[in-house]
Amino acid sequence: MSPARKFAVVSLAILAAPVLAAAAAAPVIVSTPDQRALAPDVAVGPDGEIAMLWLAKGDPNSAAAQAAEAERAKTGHSHQSSMNLYVAVSKDGGATFSAPVHVNHGDDVWGFAVSRPRIAYGPTGTLHVAYPANEQQAKLGKAILMTHYTRSTDGGQTFEAPRRVSTVTDSDLSGVIHGGFASVAAFGTMGVAPDGSVYIAWIDTRNMKADSATGSVYAAVSRDDGRTFATDRMMVADGVCPCCQLSIAFDAQSRPYLGSRSVTGDNLRSSTVAQADGRGGEFGARVPTGGAPWHLNGCPLKPTVLAVRGSTVYTAAHNGAETPPGVMIATSHDGGASFDKPAPVQPGALVSDAPALALTAHGALIAWHAKVDGPRRVYYRALDARGVYAGPVSALTEGDATSQNPALATRKDGRVQIAWQQDDRIYTTAIAAAP
């Protein structure tokens, strides 16, 4: 059976076993059986189409993988992560998906669940994708990580040749991390504002000092649906935890809000939200979302996610200083100037992590993975307009499989599309937003 045919069979399969919650529809698998897939993202288009994006390692025994390994052995060149990106699109509300389309060129994607590529629709249906990619800095002869972008203007059937949107500099920090990258533009995010502006932001090491190890935020913005991007600009000067993925959301006036984790000289790593004017200006002061102070001389790998409606900013992030360590929500009612006291999303869990947020008709929905009495499973919960929990924790998955790293997108029918990784496959389904 051809891979495409295999995929068609699998994608049509209705898998009842993993679902617990009555509010969730039967899930669909979008990755192919030969892929070791991870780190999904999901987007909903202007006409209700659903696009799924995921990372995959190819079959290590495939001819392509063997050839790449032979080349690596011959040249000594070694990416620190070499992955591929795939997109599949549904035009029937998530019942079936197209065969996956390979988005990047070669196996150049540097991606993990904690630095996951992003996908978003523009208002006219253009599909935008941003991801971190391995490159070589020719002058230094060293490995670097750059942020790449591509788009599809035919509904995800084909993608343009990927372009670099971050600037290659002569910065060389390879000594700081003992032979690591000379410079990094990764752990980024992408969003499309209501006015169609495409923002790609990432954590950049070009200003990093060897003795401080804090990053800056740079962003490249397109005002023409991704045809061109202005040269990247610094949006946050420093003090950004360099391994905590960014997130971005917009208000109705297309002003961007940035979720990031700050780090200070005493290694206090706080979730923060900052706002910019939408005309290209830097983000303003980053406001901590609160909670127990988390001092860590290490790599948290914890994003701060957010969703914005009017002056209400919903946020969620893992805080390792809480007991138990886990995801906390915090809501602002004044455009991110201040936040309510954070509240744990699942106090009974041993640990919870990897939050995702999406707006619903009257509030927001949060999903995350947690461990309660077995492997990681995906859970979700509704928030009301004030950011207060509007219902109990619902388990999306059960059983012995490891389910993790959910992503969310608001559907046109009021439900929320959720994507997640279960073992090494990518699943998606729709869940009702109301408790």
Partner: protein
């Protein structure tokens, strides 16, 4: 004949030296890690989860190696587990040979980081570095997150020895 034997011996010796320079880093899955720790029952074990891309991890590894040298005779054993990609065994081996030769470390075998860490800590939150102090009875005495200094580690370990 003697000359040929000499050349062969020299070549073999050079190859062996090269092999020694970059010793392979063995992989470890959850079951094997359990076995590694069980085999060290009776010792105080310092289990260090690290990665080549985690700068704070790299700063503390020399201190942990020094402590193992200092306290090994009193029953301390250091076990490292690299959380780098399972397919990166060659790169991790080269990295160790260059920066931390002698560091007794394994590389996670499976994609699921949590499965490895759950052997000692079902509530691990993927923060690196994470170091576990495991008593002679095999039970976790303490979880430490973030890089610590030589003095800080010594203070923690002394109580368990």
């Amino acid at each position: 004949m003697k000359r040929r034997a000499f050349l062969a011996a020299t070549a073999a010796s050079l190859l062996a030296a090269r092999a020694r320079a970059v010793d392979a880093v063995p992989t470890v899955d959850a079951k094997q890690l359990r076995g590694l720790l069980d085999a060290r029952r009776g010792k105080v074990v310092v289990l260090n989860l690290w990665a080549t891309w985690c700068a704070p991890c790299l700063r503390e590894i020399p201190d942990l190696m020094r402590i193992e040298q200092e306290l090994g005779p009193r029953g301390l054993a250091l076990v490292g587990v690299s959380m780098d990609e399972p397919g990166d065994a060659g790169r991790v081996a080269t990295f160790r040979a260059k920066y931390f030769p002698g560091f007794r470390t394994w590389l996670r075998a499976g994609q699921d980081l949590d499965a490895i860490a759950s052997v000692v800590d079902p509530a691990w939150n993927e923060v690196l570095p994470t170091t576990y102090l495991i008593g002679r009875d095999g039970k976790v005495v303490q979880r430490v997150q973030g890089a610590k200094t030589h003095a800080e580690f010594l203070a923690l370990i002394e109580g368990a020895l």
